[in-house]
């Protein structure tokens, strides 16, 4: 057994352990000086990224991988904590790592002038840990624990600019909804344990019967995770907190949001995978019902998100509302995929949704980075107070244009590739779905053209005559995201074949996920 095999075998635990350890070492390291602290943070992420990378190459080649804490094999599977990593989890972990790297590089310049940065980086690493934990774990109680950690870390980060009352308000609203949501998840976990005497997802999925209690559990998990992912009408915390958190960390808070979205996928496709085709009253199968519930909420999300974004005047809050709409697109694709499970276009819709997850993280992320750069330079949030920055901030303008075109799905950028797949699959379920999706992407264009005008064009106000370009590390972070977006836009097939297809197959093939644990007993 060579060293790489050992590393791969241990990597699920190390992916969690390294950033967690790094988080708690951070205050100590920060005492030396800021350069060492920055390098230490990068080092921790590089190490984590390395393990995610080798784990990804292994999982994509050889199928799901199991890690059992505290034992070599599965003697008593229900009492061990399991990490089960399949292509979907590793896809999410890769996205999280990309967002984490960009956050870190961006933070170097962006947060330079603030104090309390040791706590800031500790929280950032903690949030990354918890997001990765939610994505890799195979144990539902473990999922709850990481959900709570991410909730605490995000809340503290949202309130990081504690001198602003609004940041505190946003953080309080966030923690109220997430704490209540998390408690309902715990309640659902209790119900699951009461019925099946097990806590790991694969074992539960194997024995799940779809009793009356299981219906309650399904609703609780769907609604809570949907709320954490930002579905309308439970989205109101999202623009508040995205708009008030430091823009540098919005990316990883978004990573945690996407992890909740992943939770929805895991619950529906894996936990309820065996019972999805159960026929209920009026001979409606469960998958159709759940699919249409998600589609309805998704359509409302898209419309409300875009419509509200159109009238916002706060730059970051506006992006927050458009993030709600983007989440709606993902839920639309996934909902159509569930409702039409088994047809060829369901697979296309699912792939479109999963690709859109990656694109959403990059597009909205880039826009937040640009918003952060604008805030860093002008110290203004309202679109009404900013004007004519394109004259002095050329690179930022170019990055914003790329983000704008991508987020509305203009060819040939990445947003178009995923929206193309979504439009051309969901119309087969019902034509109205594609119509609304296309229409709202045009509205999204109007939203961001307004921002483009307000921030970068328009007359040169005297207050901004002497503004300079954003610092180099911020430009580097934006450039990396923009390059990734252009790459995905030009070669969507490469990304779909390498990452998205395996992830969609892993979701559809829940028997393999279950078999990895249950077969091993």
């Amino acid at each position: 057994m060579n060293i790489i095999d050992v590393l791969i075998e241990q990597s699920p635990a190390l992916i969690i352990a390294i950033p967690l350890l790094g988080a708690f070492l951070m205050p100590l390291v920060s005492r030396i000086n800021s350069t060492v602290r920055n390098i230490f943070g990068l080092l921790v992420l590089c190490l984590t990224g390395f393990f995610v990378g080798i784990l990804a190459s292994d999982v994509l080649a050889n199928g799901p991988r199991l890690y059992i804490f505290g034992a070599k094999d599965l003697a008593v599977p229900m009492v061990r904590i399991l990490f089960e990593v399949d292509s979907m989890s590793i896809f999410m972990a890769l996205i999280t790592m990309v967002l984490a790297f960009i956050t870190l590089i961006y933070s170097w310049s962006f947060m330079k002038d603030h104090d309390g940065l040791d706590k800031y980086y500790t929280l950032v690493l903690l949030l990354i840990t918890s997001t990765l934990g939610m994505e890799l774990t195979g144990d539902i109680f473990n999922f709850f624990v990481f959900l709570e950690i991410s909730c605490i870390a995000s809340c503290a980060l949202i309130a990081f600019w504690i001198s602003e009352g609004e940041a505190l308000e946003a953080a309080f609203k966030y923690i109220v909804v997430s704490a209540i949501g998390a408690l309902f998840v715990l309640f659902a976990i209790g119900l699951l344990y009461a019925q099946y005497n097990a806590l790991n997802i694969a074992t539960l999925a194997n024995v799940l019967k779809y009793t009356f209690l299981d219906k309650i559990i399904l609703v609780l998990l769907l609604v809570v995770l949907g709320m954490k992912a930002g579905l309308v009408p439970m989205h109101m915390w999202l623009p508040d907190s995205y708009g008030r958190a430091p823009p540098s960390v919005t990316l990883i808070i978004m990573g945690a949001t996407l992890a909740s979205f992943y939770g929805v996928l895991r619950v529906i496709f894996t936990l309820y995978g065996n019972v999805l085709s159960t026929t209920m009253r009026f001979s409606i199968p469960l998958n159709v019902l759940v699919g249409w519930i998600l589609i309805t909420l998704a359509i409302i999300s898209i419309i409300v998100g875009v419509a509200m974004a159109l009238v916002q005047s706060d730059f970051m809050r506006l992006i927050g509302f458009s993030a709600v709409a983007e989440v709606g697109y993902m839920f639309l694709a996934i909902g159509a995929g569930i409702a039409a499970l088994g047809t060829p276009y369901a697979t296309t819709a699912l792939q479109g949704g999963i690709l859109h997850l990656l694109n959403d993280a990059l597009d909205i992320g880039l826009l937040f980075l640009v918003a952060g750069a604008v805030y860093y330079i002008t110290k203004k949030r309202s679109l009404d107070d900013i004007s004519g920055l394109a004259r002095n901030m050329k690179y930022t303008t170019v990055f914003f244009v790329i983000g704008l075109l991508a987020v509305v799905g203009m060819p040939p950028l990445n947003g178009f590739a995923s929206k193309f797949l979504i439009y051309e699959s969901v119309y087969q379920l019902n034509p109205i779905l594609s119509i609304v999706a296309i229409l709202c992407s045009i509205l999204m264009l109007a939203v961001f053209v307004k921002v483009f005008y307000a921030v970068f064009m328009g007359p040169e106000l005297p207050a901004f005559k002497n503004v300079t370009e954003a610092p180099r590390s911020m430009l580097l972070a934006m450039g990396v995201v923009a390059a990734l977006m252009i790459f995905i836009g030009l070669f969507p097939n490469l990304v779909i074949d390498a990452l998205v297809k395996p992830a969609a197959d892993a979701l559809l093939n829940h028997a393999q996920y279950i078999g990895t644990v249950v077969g091993g007993v």
Partner: protein
């Protein structure tokens, strides 16, 4: 792909782009000339000669290309160019003159729907970047108009594709599929026919807004905004917008022809080879002319300009409802016929 195939593809791309750009510009300007002449006659004027648009463009190239003080030069200069190029690129995906599209497997209806946004977007961004209050008001009106007409347009495109899908056809968004199975042949009964007739009517009314013609030209509104988003443009930049307008006219008319009248004359009268091709091309040009006559010329001489909120209302309430009715009729079409048979 081998070297030979690759080089052939390259030659096709280069020659196709050059050839279709020439075609689009010449016929675009020509149709604008016809439109101006005809509308002048309808209003009891003599009107300019047919070749007036060519002269206009030639003259604009010799004029000074003024960049205003408040403008952001690089955006101001780039946007007319991008708009024109994007419009030209649509031509390569469209069936023109009775021929199949040059790159049928390179882009479909959804791609074209999005590429059609780019010229309008270029206008908007150019208007915003020129820094004149008139242009800014015009640009935001253009954006609102774009939102407005995109709703019925989306309904129409999805309906056409969905109807084909119900007949078990694959690649329904592709133009070669649509040309092979014209919509009128795909209806089962009168309901479907009425549905598609409504959709055709809606599309004919979307066209003037897409081309910023009266009554939907409030972004340019010479009388109140002094030319709106083009107010600061001059010289070769304005010539680019002029050309874009011409090419876009051909593009929109060709889309209507391809979606609703993809028929050729040669199979009917049984002419082969070159004569057949010439007849088809002439017939296609005639169809394009008729579409422009009905959706641009006749409408713009008979109706006065609408206010911007009236434009949004017109498209979002009456026309969207009409197109949704069309969609529902097409959806019911099959069922009704089955009930009665």
């Amino acid at each position: 792909m081998d070297v030979l195939g690759l080089s052939e593809l390259l030659v096709r791309i280069i020659l196709g782009t050059l050839g279709l750009a020439t075609f689009g510009i010449i016929f675009g300007l020509f149709y604008i000339g016809i439109d101006r002449k005809l509308s002048a006659h309808m209003q009891g004027r003599i009107g300019p000669p047919f070749r007036q648009p060519f002269r206009d463009v030639a003259k604009l190239f010799t004029k000074e290309n003024i960049i205003p003080d408040h403008a952001i030069p690089w955006i101001f200069n780039l946007s007319p160019l991008i708009g024109l190029i994007a419009t030209i690129s649509i031509l390569l995906y469209l069936p023109l003159g009775g021929f199949p599209p040059l790159f049928a497997s390179g882009g479909d209806l959804i791609v074209i729907l999005y590429l059609l946004i780019i010229p309008s977007l270029a206008l908007v961004i150019g208007g915003f970047s020129s820094g004149s209050p008139y242009a800014i008001i015009g640009a935001q009106r253009e954006m609102a108009t774009m939102i407005a007409y995109e709703f019925p347009l989306a309904v129409l495109i999805i309906t056409v594709a969905w109807n084909l899908l119900q007949k078990g056809i694959t690649n329904v968004f592709s133009f070669s599929t649509i040309a092979a199975a014209p919509v009128w042949n795909q209806v089962a009964g009168p309901l479907g026919f009425i549905g598609f007739a409504i959709l055709l009517f809606v599309l004919l009314l979307v066209t003037p807004a897409e081309l910023s013609k009266i009554p939907f030209d409030s972004p340019e509104a010479e009388t109140e905004l002094a030319g709106g988003l083009l107010v600061e443009y001059s010289g070769r930049n304005l010539a680019m917008y002029y050309l874009t307008d011409g090419v876009k006219t051909v593009v929109m008319a060709s889309i209507i022809v391809a979606l609703f009248f993809p028929y050729n004359l040669s199979p009917f009268i049984g002419l082969g080879s070159y004569t057949g091709i010439i007849i088809d091309v002439l017939f296609y040009l005639l169809k394009v002319f008729l579409v422009i006559l009905f959706s641009v010329t006749l409408i713009r001489v008979s109706i006065a300009r609408l206010k911007i909120d009236q434009i949004v209302y017109t498209y979002w309430i009456p026309l969207t409802l009409a197109s949704l009715v069309g969609l529902i009729l097409v959806m019911w079409d099959q069922n009704i016929v089955q009930w009665f048979s």
